[in-house]
Amino acid sequence: MARVVVDVMPKPEILDPQGKAVTGALQRLGFAGLAVRQGKRFEIEVDGEVTDERLDEIRRAAETLLANTVIETFAVSVETQEQAAAQGQPA
């Protein structure tokens, strides 16, 4: 089992009301100087090996379903063992 991660973010030029609200809240909580954009993270457990074809397939899946490419961009990455382990715990 391998893990592929698809990160989906609002395009930079598109309004991000979520990020705006979080940025404001952080400020009020005393965390200054942080500007936040909020997106989605999909962690995908892939049956079998992550071949190039498999990755291409996931890219197509991201394009059709996971991201709305009218307003969002996405990035696909394969997660290494160590990353996966780190991800599992609170940092």
């Binding site: 030029e13 598109i14 309004l15 991000d16 009301p17 709305n68 009218v70 307003i71």
Partner: protein, 753 residues
């Protein structure tokens, strides 16, 4: 360097991308003539958006004027504001006024269904707010391609989630709407949105900039590159070419921001610190500044550097054209500015003084210390081009009208009738719409007296006096195709009747005219016929048109949508507790049909569902009868005569009976008339009919009152037991469980949820 007025004067021959901005050659020349020089690129941006079809109504203006011929008086009071304002305002007595309007957001909703629909709701809500009113409800007339078309599975859920996502988050109850499927909308869904607001007479605000020295304040969201499409052409030519040239043409809504904007604006009104106000819709700052200045008594000076930006790389022409949502512009007396800004701070709403009202009649806009716009605002806002587009009754109209339903095979015998009743009940246009409406909050604010699936939405306006208003929107595009004049009147009559069945008195009209390309003479003919129909219809019914919206270019390829003049009717009810709901309420009650049934099946749901047929002539309409019927219904509500009243429309009596039964799970036992084809009695779509139920011992009273109003009555039968059956005596019987299962399954099955 920006293209300044001075630079424009010095470089008269500089090429300008007017065509890319959608202007025609003669329009560009007219702009040069007005200015006596070439426009700066900022001016060109302004003129091009403000003179677009969407903002200038250049193809429709000459026809819309006809609405102005109607009396500006409603049956309950004067119009306090009419066509030409952001929305019409109707005096409904007790010091209250209501304002309502429908707008379209069709094309954006095809590109990005969720955001398109969401920002459509946001836009119409700001129009209502700008009149000084608290928005209190929304409705959403929607049209989609066939339910089983693959793209509908993308568009419909997105649009519905968007309407709900935005309206729910604003805390506006959804009072009703329409969900209609037809192949003509496959590549061009219609997303119309209606908002209704309430104000006290003294709170009425208008969009005008008066009083030299008064400050112009921009408040709400920061300005980004949203929806500026064409302006980036200008920007990339005249500004630095290294920045991202691709600006989003999609706008993203922020309903939380809009909710703050509503509460903040209402507090500003209450504090009496606003002298003029304008919402931002299409064309952003170009529109707000030029309309405010044009309607005022002076001019306006704006410093664009002061506009808060979300994207600091925006060029002046882009800032002027940006359609970023959730923004408003107010004109404020200098002494009130501090208080204004303080209220905005309380609501966490960004507010900035960006200019002031001047006395010179010019709209002057500066950027980096230089003047980039210097125009007469009236030439931008009001003196755009006006076209008398050619129109002609299309050759195919006769052919379509001659192809009636006469030759179609009609069902005979109980089994066939039963089967077709069920097929109609389960058809996409007649089936249960809760998959859609369950995504809308209809309870918020605690004043929703009637909402879906009632014939009209109704809200209480005053808890003590129980004054309220009712609203319905309707349009049968198939009828409008068969005869656009009559089709528009049928839409009007249906909305009018839907308001009347609830017990409210219909008083005023708003419309959203959705059509194909105005450059097609056949479409233009449909459009002019629809307006003629509406004007004649409104005159007959005594209801003014208070405002509305035109949406052209609704087509897939070269095929136009069904002409779709959506009509919204507003009614007033003195005591909302006397309203009449649509569902059967008490077993044993008498069931009576008001109105007359003729053999009218052309354009009917039956023809379409059973035979996939559209042709012939729409049912006839008697507006005088509609008026008498409405009087009867409004009077009956006052005296508490009826326990239910349900308008007959698509699917005729067959469908109305099913809906009245399913509302509270009560059966019905109907005896059809001898000597008249049961098929016609069940499926005809003759207009001016209403299905009512009432206690047996008051049937005489109903018959007397109806006779006094010259409304025919037919005794149909009785309301049955809870969980009973839909029975047509001697013909067929459908257990309610079976009926409900068929009615409810359609949309969830099609969408796979």
């Amino acid at each position: 360097m920006a293209d300044t007025v001075q630079h424009a004067a010095e470089t008269p021959d500089q090429e300008q991308p007017w065509a890319e901005l959608g202007l025609r050659g003669e329009e560009y020349h007219r702009i040069r003539e007005i200015l006596g020089r070439r426009p700066t690129s900022a001016e060109l941006a302004m003129y091009s958006v403000m003179w677009s079809e969407h903002c200038s109504y250049k193809s429709s203006k000459v026809h819309l004027r006809r609405f102005g011929e109607l009396s500006q008086e409603t049956p309950v009071g004067k119009l306090l504001a009419g066509i030409g304002e952001n929305a019409g305002v109707i005096d409904i007595g007790q010091g209250y006024a209501v304002t309502f309007k429908i707008e379209s957001h069709n094309h954006p909703s095809y590109v990005e269904p969720y955001q398109g629909a969401a920002t459509g709701v946001g836009g119409i809500v700001r129009d209502i707010l700008a009149m000084g009113a608290r928005p209190v409800g929304v409705m959403d007339p929607l049209r989609f391609g066939p339910l089983d078309a693959p793209d509908t599975a993308r568009v419909l859920p997105g649009v519905v989630a968007g309407v709900g996502g935005y309206g729910n988050c604003l805390g506006l109850p959804n009072l009703g709407g329409e969900v209609v499927f037809d192949r003509s909308y496959a590549g061009n869904p219609l997303v119309n949105a209606l908002c209704v607001g309430v104000l006290r007479h003294e709170d009425l605000h208008l969009a005008k900039a008066t009083g030299a020295g008064n400050k112009v304040i921009l408040y709400g969201a920061a300005t980004g590159g949203d929806g500026i499409g064409g302006a980036s052409i200008l920007a990339s030519e005249s500004f630095d070419a290294t920045k991202p040239s691709k600006r989003p043409s999609v706008q993203v809504g922020d309903p939380f921001m809009e909710k703050l904007l509503i509460e903040c604006t209402l507090e500003l009104f209450a504090a009496r610190v606003v002298t003029g106000i304008q919402d931002f819709g299409a064309a952003g700052i170009s529109c707000a500044t030029s309309e405010l200045a044009a309607a005022g008594d002076g001019g306006m000076h704006v410093d664009l550097d002061l506009v808060p930006l979300r994207d600091p790389t925006l060029a002046p022409e882009e800032i002027l054209m940006s359609e970023s949502q959730e923004r408003m512009m107010a004109v404020v007396e200098p002494g009130d500015v501090d208080r204004f800004l303080e209220i905005c701070r309380k609501w966490d709403v960004l507010a900035t003084v960006v200019g002031e009202v001047t006395g010179d009649g010019r709209l002057v806009i500066d950027w980096h210390g230089e003047t980039v716009v210097d125009v007469d605002p009236r030439t931008v806002a009001h003196e755009g081009p006006v076209y008398e587009r050619p129109y002609a009754r299309p050759g195919w109209q006769d052919e379509v009208q001659s192809r009636g339903t006469g030759g179609l095979r009609r069902p005979t015998g109980g089994d066939e009738l039963r089967d077709e009743v069920l097929r109609l009940v389960a058809s996409p246009n007649l089936c249960d719409k809760s998959w859609v409406t369950d995504q809308y909050d209809r309870y918020v604010r605690g004043n929703s007296v009637l909402a879906q699936p009632e014939d009209a939405g109704m809200i209480r306006i005053d808890e003590d006096t129980r004054l309220g208003v009712a609203l319905a929107t309707d349009c049968n595009g198939k009828f409008a195709l068969l005869d656009p004049y009559l089709g528009a009147q049928l839409a009007l009559a249906e909305a009018y009747r839907n308001v009347a069945v609830s017990g409210a008195r219909p008083v005023a009209v708003s419309d959203c005219l959705n059509f194909g390309s105005p450059e097609d003479p056949a479409v233009m003919w449909q459009f002019t016929e629809a307006i003629r129909g509406l004007v004649d219809g409104c005159r007959a019914l005594g209801t003014p048109v208070t405002g509305g919206n035109v949406s052209f270019y609704n087509q897939t390829g070269t095929t136009a949508i069904l002409p779709t003049p959506v009509v919204g009717v507003l009614g007033v009810i003195d005591d909302v507790t006397s309203r009449t709901p649509m569902g059967f309420a008490v077993p044993g009650d008498a069931v009576v049909l008001l109105g007359e049934t003729r053999d009218e099946l052309d354009g009917s749901a039956w023809a379409s569902v059973i035979h996939d047929h559209l042709g012939g002539r729409p049912p006839s309409l008697d507006l005088d009868h509609e008026q008498r019927l409405a009087e009867l219904l409004v009077g009956a509500a006052r005296t508490g005569l009826l326990r239910s009243a349900h308008d007959l429309s698509d699917g005729g009596l067959a469908q109305a009976l099913a809906e009245a039964c399913l509302r509270h799970d009560l059966g019905v036992d109907v005896v059809l008339r001898e000597g008249v084809d049961p098929f016609v009695q069940l499926f005809s779509e003759s207009t001016g009919r209403v299905l009512v139920s009432l206690p047996e011992d008051r049937v005489d009273e109903l018959e007397r009152t109806a006779a006094a109003h010259q409304v025919p009555t037919t005794r149909l039968g009785r309301v049955g037991e809870r969980g009973g059956a839909y029975v047509v005596s001697g013909s067929f019987s459908i257990p309610l469980d079976e009926l409900r299962a068929r009615w409810q399954a359609t949309i969830p099955e099609a969408l796979g949820v």
